[in-house]
């Protein structure tokens, strides 16, 4: 593009031909006030506060800098007396409509307008149109528009009704310079209104995410709703954003597989007596981790749903664990993280009463008992007993809005009633429902509790019955991070030693068909789970592909002729075994 010469406030400069004057001035560090201008939007030139004086071949004109294209040889004055007089006039008109809007008043002060001649109106909207334009140009939802004329001009939705085209992206409120548009939060509370999901449409999952890369949340991204926006594309200097990316299925050939698919937290809603979902200040341990996290919705502040600092918190251990109704096993980690929670609460909220309700304290690890003793010294209350019920039945006004926890304190043999501001449920770690499917996929097995079973609890704790498939972490059973890491290390080295060897030894138990005995009935073909058997029409014989055969022997038992046999499990061998064991 052609570059032209111009002069701004007496200083020579260059700019590409026909760039908006505002931009050319900004590049020189010259500030021109704006109200209806926004870098993401097409210039509109409606508020006129950016008015400047332009001299072209001795002709002087007043123009709006935001949409005036520069041409060769022009001379510009951005702050001349005439310009200032003009702006004062504009401000007086605007104040006549919106007398109390802070941006206008700041400008009025700057330009010495103290007593506007036309008075001060009560409106909030200065009619800059940024909201209307952002909604149509950027968001693409086209919800807002101007209505009526002259002094009655307003910005609104069609027929002034709640628009079902509004995607509640909040872009209008964001660009409004006066705060005239507010997004009403229908949902109460802070952590419940901002749950575990992403806080923005484009975000980095969490600080420790691997890989630590930003991802777009399709559900909330404006582009996937309206096809427009893509503001992020302009902003990203690395040009890394591509809205056309699709999920890809990639096939990778590997020799060993580590299953580390983890656990899930039990659904708190099944424990009706604890009122999760009914009372807003009852949360799961995982909710609490999020709330307490510096990267969380409250930036790590522990707050109740109404944004208040709690004065008392109850922590319930063993929820769903060690309970015949749910999980018989102990989830192992709850006691310790419950102590961690208590400690963090004490540290963050001075004077907060913390009650830990436990059945037994299981502080099994290195340094754990010491940590428990430290908490005793920190003044955490420990109540030995299972919480029977949590409700909001206040007995006197001081208990209004509190949660009442009832539990038998088995140490002193009385039923206690403790009102608190917040309750944390330390729920059982349970096997993921999809573990069953995975166990089929990887030919390993799951136990009664749904966790993967190891080949041998002592001798092969990270192996599975399937060669080359290893397990580690909470998918094998509830455990804490140190144990998970230790197991993962063991599993990785077991896998590495296989890789080093370069081959997996499978049991040589495949089946074979003795051709001369085969009648070609194909019964075996129909029963093989691995389609390892093919029938040769020409020969009228079936044969087994050794590489596909996994050695189940199902075909062997099905073959009426005894043509199929399984290595190491031949009929003679089985008969001999039967003879042998019946001889004793």
């Amino acid at each position: 593009m052609k570059t032209i010469k111009l002069k701004i406030n007496g200083i020579e400069t260059e700019a590409p031909d026909r760039t908006p004057l505002l931009q050319a001035a900004e590049r020189m560090g010259i500030r021109i006030p704006t109200l209806c201008h926004h870098p993401l939007l097409e210039p509109y030139g409606v508020c006129r506060i950016c008015t400047v004086e332009v001299r072209i071949r001795n002709r002087v004109r007043m123009v709006t800098a935001c949409n005036y294209p520069v041409t060769n040889g022009i001379e510009v004055f951005t702050d001349s007396e005439r310009v200032r007089r003009n702006r004062r006039m504009i401000l007086e008109w605007m104040l006549a409509r919106c007398g109390h809007v802070p941006v206008l008043n700041r400008l009025a002060e700057e330009y010495g307008v103290t007593e506007p001649r036309f008075g001060r109106g009560d409106d909030d909207c200065i009619l800059c149109g940024l909201c209307v334009k952002v909604c149509s140009e950027v968001v693409g939802a086209n919800v807002l528009g101007f209505f009526d004329r002259g002094p009655n001009r307003t910005v609104s939705t069609a027929y002034d009704r709640t628009s079902d085209r509004c995607i509640t992206c909040g872009a209008c409120a964001q660009v409004c310079p006066t705060g005239a548009i507010r997004i009403k939060d229908d949902q109460e509370g802070i952590y419940q209104a901002m749950p575990m999901g992403p806080l923005t449409s484009i975000n980095i999952d969490f600080m420790q995410a691997v890989p630590r890369k930003a991802v777009i949340d399709r559900d909330s991204c404006i582009h996937f709703k309206t096809g427009k926006c893509q503001v992020c594309v302009d902003v990203c200097e690395a040009k890394a954003i591509d809205h056309k990316q699709e999920d890809r299925v990639e096939e990778v050939e590997v020799g060993t597989i580590l299953l580390t698919t983890g656990f899930q937290l039990q659904d708190p809603r099944v424990l009706k007596e604890y009122g999760y979902g009914k009372y807003k200040n009852i949360m799961t341990s995982l909710d609490f981790e999020v709330l307490n996290n510096a990267g969380g919705p409250t930036a790590g502040k522990i707050l109740t749903a109404d944004g208040k600092v709690p004065k008392s918190i109850g922590i319930v251990h063993c929820v769903g664990s060690r309970d015949q109704k749910y999980h018989e096993y102990c989830s192992r980690v709850c006691c310790m993280y419950a102590l961690k929670f208590a400690h963090l609460i004490k540290e963050k909220i001075h004077g907060c009463e913390v009650y830990n309700f436990y059945i037994d304290m299981r502080c099994f690890g290195k340094g754990y008992e010491e940590f428990y003793n430290r908490l005793l010294r920190e003044g955490v209350n420990f109540v030995r007993g299972k919480v029977a019920e949590i409700n909001d039945a206040a007995l006197d006004p001081s208990e209004e809005g509190k949660l009442i926890m009832r539990a038998e304190d088995t140490m002193i043999g009385v039923v206690r009633r403790i009102p608190v501001d917040m309750v944390v449920l330390c729920l059982a770690m349970e096997a993921k429902p999809e573990a069953k499917h995975l166990s089929h996929l990887f030919s390993c097995s799951t136990g009664k509790d749904g966790f993967f079973t190891e080949k041998h609890p002592k001798l092969a704790p990270v192996s599975t019955p399937a060669d080359g498939i290893f397990i580690a972490g909470a998918c094998q059973g509830p455990k804490d991070i140190p144990d998970t890491v230790a197991q993962a290390g063991a599993a990785a080295s077991a896998a590495l030693s296989l890789i080093q060897r370069g081959e997996v030894e499978t049991e040589a138990v495949t089946a074979t068909i003795q051709e001369e005995m085969c009648s070609g009935c194909q019964i075996c073909v129909g029963v093989c789970p691995y389609t390892a058997i093919t029938y040769d029409k020409g020969k009228n014989k079936s044969s087994i592909n050794d590489a596909l055969c996994k050695g189940c022997g199902t075909c062997v038992a099905a073959c009426p002729a005894g043509a199929a046999y399984q290595k190491h499990f031949r009929d003679q061998q089985i008969f001999a075994e039967i003879d042998g064991i019946l001889a004793i």
């Binding site: 070609g520 009935c521 019964i523 129909g526 029963v527 005894g562 009929d571």
Partner: protein, 274 residues
Amino acid sequence: MLTEIRKHCADLLTRKQVAAVYGLRERDGHTAPYLFTRAEDLDGLTVGTKVPVTFTLRPAKKNIISAFQEKCPGQKIAVLVRGCDERGLYEVAKRGQIQVADLAIIGYACDADQARACHCPRPHPQNLKFGEKVQGPSNEAFIAKIVNMSVAEREAFWRAQFSKCIKCYGCRNSCPVCICKECWMENDAFSPTGWLPPDFPMFHFVHFYHLSDSCIECGACVDACPMDIPLNLIRKVLSKKVQEELFYTAGQDPEEKPPLASREEAKERLEKGI
């Protein structure tokens, strides 16, 4: 009926719709399976005599149909069938021995006397062209004899019956759906050669179990048995169990896989959620 059948078959041959007609021929007082290729031979064609099923594969492990199909693949032959014949064809076809698609199946019904003599529950083929369907005798009444016995009584009964067995292998050789080359009834580890009578119930267990989902209840084994062992008593108990447990009736649906040759559950079982 016979005249019409002969005429129909002659028609098929002269119009070259089939390369041959497979049926029974009577000559010099003997009836035996025969492959008719010339219309003029059809005078010898006969039906409905008490000749055991037409398609027995033993001993050469081939019958005329499979031998023909091997030599002349793709050529059509017409086959004259009774109920049991047709069921047998379907079962051996499912086990890869013959191609049903290359057959023109012409069925005729057995009469009530014949059905009673065979204890045949379905004395008519699905491809019925000649004759009238009659109701076969009930299996329930037939098997009541052993169903009503106690376990110990059954043991005593069969011990006595099987002690008559002379191991002629007639039951096996006459069976139209028995297709194996190597036979477990001859397996020494299971029932040793030279022992007479065979150990109870090993030898017969093989016959019974192996044919449990293919036995078409033709009665050929009983007919063949020189010692009059009522093998069909067990056969029919097992067929009933296969129907109830695996929802399979041998010889019925040419498309349905035999349950013991398939990984799939019967759809009836899935529907009932059992």
